[in-house]
């Protein structure tokens, strides 16, 4: 039981820390693209770790008690995690592309090759 608690504390701590960074970065950064960096990467990584905590919890309780409901808990959490990983970066790509096409340009940009390619 002691190792299980330690693993749960570590995973939940990492997950909550990165989720916090994601929402703070959403408030701090200056324009859409850098906000997307913070939002997509940090929240996806944090959600992976909080879900991993639930998966570890389910499998270890199933090992101890032999009750089938903890196995179902772990399997369904794996499915939810896969959905999250597939759909999240694609949504970020769609938002970035739509923002650039609707005329929101990156602020403090050093170089913008996409704009030059559009002008040609």
């Amino acid at each position: 039981m002691g190792t299980l608690l330690t693993v749960l504390y570590i995973f939940l701590g990492i997950g909550v820390f990165f989720n916090c960074l994601g929402s703070v970065g959403l408030l701090r950064f200056p324009d859409v693209y850098t906000r997307l960096h913070a939002a997509t990467k940090a929240t996806t990584f944090g959600s992976i770790f909080t879900s991993l905590a639930v998966i570890v919890y389910g499998f270890s309780r199933w090992n101890v008690t032999g009750d089938s409901k903890f196995r179902v808990l772990a399997l369904h959490t794996i499915v939810a995690l896969i959905c999250l990983i597939i759909t999240n970066p694609t949504g970020a790509h769609a938002i970035a592309r739509a923002a650039h096409r609707s005329g929101v340009m990156p602020r403090q940009a050093v170089i913008d090759e996409l704009k030059e390619a559009k002008l040609k």
Partner: protein, 158 residues
């Protein structure tokens, strides 16, 4: 409506079948887990909306036929009414299959249990009928409003 970029289309090809099998799982397990005809129908209708948004309303005509969907809608409603009339020997909407031992007829275990698919009487069949109706109704609404939006916008430009 034009189509979206290639990345979105490739992801849509994988997610589309997954959403549909998940919606059918929700419909078929309506008497065991949270879900049922309304919820599963809404999920599958959202899958049609996803296909429409990523392929555009012109290209998605290859995959979705509006006439077939509206046919299935009427079929679902009629199936539901027929199932309601079937218990008319006792009352309207009587659950004539429950605890009879045949298909869907096992008696459920009383109390907290993991659940058995083969119970519930006429409830799973009604779930399927209502799910068929709701999914085709939402598909028809989304397809009709997409083509109508194209039309009214074009009228405004000219």
């Amino acid at each position: 409506m034009k189509e979206m970029s290639r990345i979105v289309k490739t992801v849509t090809n994988f997610v589309y079948g997954f959403i549909i099998i998940f919606g059918f799982y929700i419909i078929a397990h309506g008497h065991l887990t949270p879900g049922g005809g309304f919820q599963g129908g809404a999920v599958v209708g959202s899958a049609f909306a996803l296909l429409l948004v990523s392929y555009g309303s012109l290209n998605s005509q290859k995959f979705l036929k509006k006439d077939i969907l509206s046919l299935f809608e009427g079929f679902g409603l009629i199936l539901f009414i027929v199932l309601g009339f079937s218990g008319l020997g006792i009352t309207f909407f009587y659950n004539f299959l429950a605890n009879s031992g045949g298909w869907f007829g096992n008696a459920a275990v009383i109390g907290v249990n993991p659940g058995n698919m083969n119970t519930g009487g006429v409830i799973p069949l009604m779930n399927i009928a209502v799910g068929l109706e709701v999914l085709s109704a939402f598909g028809v609404i989304v397809l009709t409003m997409a083509s109508a939006a194209e039309f009214t916008k074009k009228k405004e430009k000219s």
